[in-house]
């Protein structure tokens, strides 16, 4: 059998990219059908196929790395670049929403009463649940770093405890934020204040859910002995993503919750 004379990974042909594209098509068309024709079949098919593609694609990456050994240091380097570039693109995504917020809040129009927060809007008290949420995410940054150190030191039990605590804190944040959404006196339809607030914090909440899911997968892999003390890039990528989510929250808190109240 011929062996490759390089350290890169030539992947097996895979159906997931094309199925993923089809799933994206189904989801976007499904959204249109749901918005305009009040039918959600296509949307459900799209979301389900997206979920199936993600599960199987990432399952295959785990097989290729942990079970087949294809993730050489060269391959890992590429994955690191990839994750950093992806997170950078997400930073730009949020930058847009911050731009929108500052555009509207630095020069409030007469329609808003010439003030920020606009006339009639009762913003959330930044020293209440939002401050608790800040503490929760900062603590979760500490626990995920603790988990990382435990992994590199080969301390399995501590790593599992620390990672579980990180995920629990993430879920606690999500629950509190959902409660806060329920408790606000304003909605997304309440002027540009509502739009900027809920779109920015809403996308942040979605990223917390994504990050928590990523960490949960890492926890399952940690329990199943997939990680070694010097090769655990999946966990590192999840930890980077989690720190990014934490930092976005800090900016949200300082600008929208605190300065914007």
């Amino acid at each position: 059998m011929a062996h490759q004379a390089h350290s890169y990974h030539m992947v097996d042909p895979s159906p997931w990219p094309i199925f993923g594209a089809a799933a994206a098509l189904l989801t976007t068309s499904g959204l249109i059908m749901w918005f305009h024709y009040n039918t959600s079949t296509l949307l459900m098919a799209g979301l389900l196929s997206m979920l199936l593609v993600m599960l199987q694609w990432w399952r295959d990456v785990i097989r290729e790395s942990t079970f087949q050994g294809h993730h050489t240091p060269t391959v890992q380097k590429g994955l690191r670049y990839g994750m950093i570039l992806f997170i950078t693109s997400e930073v730009f995504f949020f930058l847009g929403f911050f731009w929108a917020f500052f555009h509207s809040s630095l020069a409030p129009t007469p329609e808003l009463g010439g003030q920020w927060p606009p006339t009639g809007i009762n913003p959330l008290n930044p020293l209440d649940v939002p401050l608790l949420n800040t503490a929760i995410l900062l603590a979760s940054g500490v626990t995920v770093t603790w988990a990382h150190h435990s992994i590199t030191e080969g301390n399995r039990k501590q790593a599992i405890h620390a990672l579980t605590l990180t995920i629990a804190l993430g879920l606690y944040f999500t629950a509190l934020q959902a409660m806060e959404y329920h408790e606000t006196s304003f909605s997304i339809a309440d002027s540009i204040y509502g739009s900027t607030f809920f779109v920015a914090t809403g996308f942040h909440g979605l990223h917390v859910i994504i990050g928590s899911s990523f960490l949960t997968v890492c926890l399952l892999r940690l329990i199943k002995f997939h990680f070694t003390s010097n090769h655990h890039f999946g966990f590192e990528a999840a930890a980077w993503y989690w720190h990014f989510v934490d930092i976005v929250w800090l900016f949200l808190y300082m600008s929208m919750y605190w300065w914007g109240s």
Binding site: V11, L52, Q56, D60, T66
Partner: protein, 125 residues
């Protein structure tokens, strides 16, 4: 009474600690053997029968969805065509669809021509 309470506490503690001490075995070597077997299967089917079933289900779902969209598109297209005839103006969506299909056919023809002209390039190892 206190002795009974204490014994209950000790029993519950014993039960809990036994459950948490049950070790999870490292099954990674078994998985490594399974996925490194020289059976010619691609990684997305190498795990067993479930892989094939899940693959077929995913394919069915996306193909069903695309067929559904095509059905919707044709009904939308026919509506648009009726509109086109009524207004006498081109519908950009119809044109885009027709252009895409036409240009695809042109590209296929061009590729065939290139294969004949540059036979040596296409046949090289």
């Amino acid at each position: 009474m206190w002795r009974n309470l204490l014994s209950i506490r000790q029993v519950s503690r014993r039960t809990i600690s036994t459950a948490s001490r049950r070790p999870l075995e490292n099954r990674v070597p078994e998985k490594q053997k399974l996925f490194q077997e020289d059976n010619g299967l691609p990684v997305y089917l190498k795990g067993g029968i479930m892989d094939g079933l899940l693959y077929r289900f995913t394919m069915g779902l996306t193909v069903f969805g695309k067929a559904h969209i095509k059905h919707l598109r044709f009904s939308t297209l026919s509506n648009l065509l009726r509109l086109k005839n009524f207004f006498g103006t081109a519908s950009s969506m119809t044109d885009t669809v027709l252009c895409t299909r036409y240009s695809f056919r042109i590209h296929v023809k061009m590729l065939d021509k290139a294969k004949i002209t540059h036979k040596a390039y296409f046949e090289r190892e």
